[in-house]
């Protein structure tokens, strides 16, 4: 059955377990653990005057209560700033437990360890904290005005001011025949995985070892952080990522206070300890993203060709900057999309506010960048009276222009050089898929029924598979089973399946014999993490390379055993045979036995191995430069990211009376290079599109001016149910393999979400005939816009 699995819609190996309720998420791991609950700040900005934990100390079932004063050494230092940047001149991070000031509602102040979560929460409620309230800075405009400061020692609330340019944009715009200016806003949303954060830790007193299970996107990162903070050697700490109930970015930030506190509590108390975040905590103490205000100046010619682009934006970074500037850097560099922009300058301020921290959420700044670029394209088309697709077409980078260097530095510190793509074909495909050229007759048909429809289009390019590296270890056991480990983690992407497809193809073994382990530092200690749509690119490539090494070794040993040239051998269904003479063969499991010159034989493969003789009796049993075992280990470390791309088009209907917005058609053309498993890729796109729709029409973090999050529940924060998602998402693929990695893979995880707000805004604008400059947009906001527009239309030229 050894047909090629690459590109096949292989059913997921994960699912049998998961549909039976057999998943092991972090809260499912039964260690008879104590539970923690965290006292969180009820105020957005306050000084802590005193904390009284006395009422808690004698509560039966309470084992410990800690405040900042109970932390020592590195634990008493601020949390790490994970990704420094030269322009992040005023980076700030919080303490595991607040020292003397709180800067957002939800910031951790004290922790109780108790027999169960109910008791721990009861105890938390008994802690008395005296606060001196400080004025809260909420929203980009307040941060920019800087009448109040989030951090006393950060002037203007400016964490970072960053500028990049690839030419003299100002002069180019000045010289252009046409210019436009736009102001464009995007609001806050959040990842909202169905499983919140969670961590369980066990201290093994006898061996002086700490084991941590955490719902993370980087087990190696958490391991290094926990070891550093607790003053342990790295080899004393294992971090295991069990099943993770979704991540979408929020679980790449680390270490969370609770990851450290639970680990420390387990060590100090000598008992397993766990933290399971509840939904309200997830809203107010994890991370958000997306809020930015943008100002665009653009110059263009009569065809709509960009001649110069100058973008200034203000990024709401929340109270702290633990994850550095990744989000605004992505927004600033990926804004250019598939276009030749002419001289481009981008400047951003990353601003502190007294709200939940901002770290990457699926797309990580790209949805904002895409929104800005695509709204600009639409504005140019409107100004020139041209078709919006035509304006895009004249600006596209052409297939013969790759590699295309934008002259910008990407988030990984490397050049923004597009490796491959075919944007003109993609534009034709999306137009055909959505019925772009036939839309006017559809519009007329609908108008005749009193219905109002509009169509929109948006394109993006997404840097995926950022370095620095991932690794893989492939071990062929004497049973013939292949055990593979890679260090990055999985949150539902079907890695066990997709990676097994790669191994089965490369090694020539049955798919069912391959078992993939991810995110377990005991199996692969060197890894980076799952973010930036990098798992397939990075670990996929590393696994391919490691399997190749294992195969080379297998063929070398088999050629000795079978007395044949390695070139003449093939591996089919786990059996090495001489091409054209299938009788001359040896099972891979037997080769594994031969690879390990042991004295002892235990299994059938060992017995089978006795008929073969390998090695030179005059040389050491393990030859110089060789190792026992049939294994392959390799790392993949690319020079730079590979760039995936896509275009979305959407048809919306807006109710003339109620302003309700309904999506009638959603079309996607997607290029993630070589597709490993189209079923999984489509699933990723579907999920991304739904999140894009949520971000465009429903999801918004509603803070009041005092910094209280008013909609911190699933009741009030409107995440799409099936009723909010269109009945069909039409997907078409384009495959332009990446020249940067051996399989030609580009990332697919985040893509679906990126152009959602841009495309939907364009469609609403088209339906309504009024500019849409801020997203998300609700029916009441659209209703309001109509009213404003009507007033403006009846009082022309006065403002």
């Amino acid at each position: 059955m050894t047909t090629k699995l690459m590109g096949e819609a292989v059913q997921r190996v994960e699912d049998d377990r998961l549909v039976r309720g057999g998943g092991q998420y972090v809260d499912d791991i039964d260690l008879d653990a104590l539970h923690i609950a965290v006292l969180r700040s009820p105020h957005a900005h306050a000084r802590i005057i005193s904390i009284d934990v006395d009422p808690v100390l004698d509560i039966e079932g309470v084992h410990a209560v800690w405040t900042y004063d109970d932390l020592e050494g590195a634990m008493a230092e601020p949390l790490p700033l994970l990704i420094p940047h030269p322009t992040l001149t005023h980076g700030r991070t919080q303490y595991a437990l607040a020292r003397d000031e709180v800067n957002y509602v939800g910031e951790a102040i004290a922790m109780v360890v108790a027999d169960d979560r109910y008791l721990a929460e009861d105890a938390v409620a008994q802690i008395a904290v005296e606060y001196e309230l400080l004025p809260a800075v909420v929203g980009v405009e307040a941060a920019r005005a800087a009448e109040n400061l989030v951090h006393d020692d950060v002037p203007g609330n400016i964490a970072a001011r960053s500028e990049q340019s690839n030419g003299d944009a100002e002069a180019a715009i000045k010289a252009a025949p046409h210019t436009l200016s736009l102001d464009l806003d995007i609001e806050r949303s959040a990842c909202m995985p169905m499983e919140g954060r969670g961590v369980t830790a066990r201290w093994d007193t006898a061996n002086g070892r700490l084991q941590v299970w955490t719902s993370t996107q980087t087990s190696t990162g958490v391991r290094a952080a926990v070891a550093a903070k607790l003053g342990l050697d790295l080899l004393q700490v294992d971090v295991i990522t069990p099943d993770v109930g979704g991540g979408f970015g929020v679980k790449i930030n680390h270490p969370w206070p609770e990851e450290l506190l639970v680990s420390l509590a387990a060590q100090r108390l000598g008992r397993p300890v766990k933290f399971t975040e509840d939904r309200r905590e997830h809203f107010i103490s994890s991370a958000h993203e997306r809020a930015q205000l943008h100002h665009v100046d653009v110059g263009f010619d009569d065809e709509g060709r960009l001649l110069g682009l100058d973008v200034r934006f203000w990024h709401d970074h929340g109270a702290y900057t633990p994850y550095g500037l990744i989000v605004p850097i992505n927004a600033s560099t990926q804004l250019v999309g598939p276009y030749k922009t002419g001289p481009y300058r981008v400047t951003f301020d990353s601003l502190y506010t007294n709200t939940v921290i901002v770290t990457p959420y699926r797309g990580a700044g790209r949805p904002q960048g895409c929104f800005v670029m695509e709204r600009t394209m639409d504005a140019i088309a409107a100004y020139l009276g041209k078709d919006r697709a035509d304006v895009r077409e004249v600006n596209l980078i052409q297939p013969d222009e790759f590699p295309y260097d934008h002259g910008l530095v990407f988030q990984d510190g490397r050049e923004t050089i597009y490796d491959s793509g075919d944007f003109p074909t993609m534009l034709q495909k999306i137009k055909a898929l959505v019925g772009w050229d036939d839309f006017e007759s559809y519009r007329a048909e609908m108008a005749a029924q009193g219905r109002r429809v509009g169509i929109g289009l948006a394109a993006y390019v997404e840097g995926t598979g950022a370095g620095p590296y991932e690794g893989a270890h492939v071990n062929i056991e004497s049973s013939g089973k292949v055990k593979v480990a890679t260090g990055l983690t999985s949150q539902g992407q079907g890695h066990q399946t997709a990676f097994a497809q790669i191994v089965a193809d490369e090694l020539g073994v049955p798919f069912e014999d391959v078992e993939i382990t991810t995110g377990d530092t005991r199996r692969m200690a060197y890894a980076v993490g799952t973010f930036a749509s990098r798992a397939a690119v990075m670990s996929g490539s590393a696994i391919h390379l490691a399997a190749k090494k294992a195969k080379e070794k297998a063929l070398r040993i088999a050629s000795d055993a079978l007395e044949a040239d390695p070139e003449d051998l093939q591996i089919v269904d786990g059996v090495v045979s001489v091409k054209g003479s299938p009788g001359t063969s040896i099972n891979l499991g037997t080769v594994a036995v031969l690879s390990n010159p042991l004295r002892y034989a235990f299994d059938e493969a060992s017995k089978a191995a006795t008929q073969f003789s390998v090695g030179d009796a005059t040389k050491p049993p393990v030859a110089e430069g060789d190792e026992p075992g049939l294994e392959g280990k390799d790392f993949y470390s690319p020079t730079r990211s590979t760039f995936a791309s896509g275009m979305h088009a959407v048809i919306v209907e807006t109710d003339p009376d109620t302003a309700e917005i309904t999506i009638l058609k959603y079309a996607v053309v997607h290029d993630c290079g070589t597709v490993i498993n189209p079923m999984i890729v489509e699933g990723q796109i579907h999920g991304g599109v739904a999140q894009g729709i949520g971000g465009a029409l429903y999801e918004k973090m509603a803070y009041d001016e005092s910094g209280q999050l008013l909609n911190a529940s699933f009741m009030d924060f409107l995440m799409p149910y099936v009723t909010e998602v269109p009945d069909a998402i039409d997907v078409d693929h384009l495959e332009t393999p990446s020249p940067l990695n051996p399989l030609g893979i580009k990332g697919a995880g985040e893509a679906g979400v990126i152009p959602g707000s841009a495309a939907i805004a364009a469609a609403i604008e088209d339906a309504e005939g009024l500019p849409i400059t801020a997203m998300p947009i609700s029916p009441s906001e659209l209703f309001e816009l109509r009213a404003q527009h009507a007033v403006a239309a009846t009082t022309p030229e006065e403002n």
Partner: protein
């Protein structure tokens, strides 16, 4: 409801008999113990997941006397005398997947799997009540459950497929393990019938 009224006072507890998946669990819990927590922690049935604890997401849905109920909105003490079915109890007596489980797997109706148990229990009850859901009814059946991964496209397909399997209208699609070998002859028909979504037909081999 037992309160933590005074320091040092242990919380009052109740003995409750929970009938879960045909097995009796004698548990001792405070009155405020949620059914979801009792199932997970007292009964060790961690397949029931807790997504919001305010009854909106549906991840914790179990069947109480055959009807879907959000176990985070019910106290364990009120479940005495009821027959509870959790995701662990959905499989057929011979251990094979029930039609809904099969369909979710076949149609790629799950990614991270965290919301999945709530969908599976909901749809198991749903297709029992309405064995021939229209497309609209299939969407309606899952309209009270949140999923953040799939965009619901394949979940709706899975509902329709589950109803088909349960009715015995069409044979099972090919399984990746190569079991169900006897159904291979009929597999072609399945694929033809589902030509519009070839991506969900399983192993291409």
């Amino acid at each position: 409801m037992a309160e933590n009224t005074a320091a040092g006072t242990a919380e009052r507890t109740h003995d409750v008999r929970l009938e879960v998946n045909g097995v009796t669990h004698e548990v001792t819990v405070p009155a405020r113990r949620l059914l979801s927590d009792a199932l997970r922690h007292e009964c060790g049935l961690t397949g029931t997941h807790v997504g919001c604890e305010h009854g909106v997401c549906g991840a914790c849905t179990v069947l109480v006397d055959g009807r879907p109920v959000r176990s985070c909105l019910m106290f364990a003490v009120t479940a005495q005398g009821s027959e509870i079915t959790t995701v662990e109890g959905l499989a057929e007596p011979d251990g094979s997947l029930n039609p809904v489980q099969q369909a979710f797997r076949e149609c790629h109706g799950l990614q991270c799997g965290f919301c999945t148990p709530g969908f599976l229990t909901t749809v198991t009850a749903g297709i029992k009540e309405n064995p021939c859901p229209t497309h609209e009814e299939a969407r309606e059946m899952v309209a009270g459950n949140l999923c953040r991964c799939t965009g619901y496209q394949n979940i709706v397909k899975a509902v329709e497929r589950a109803a088909e399997i349960a009715r015995g209208d069409t044979p099972s699609a090919p399984a990746p393990d190569g079991d169900d070998g006897g159904l291979e002859a009929a597999t072609g028909e399945t694929e033809v019938a589902r030509d519009d979504d070839a991506s969900t037909t399983g192993l291409g081999a």
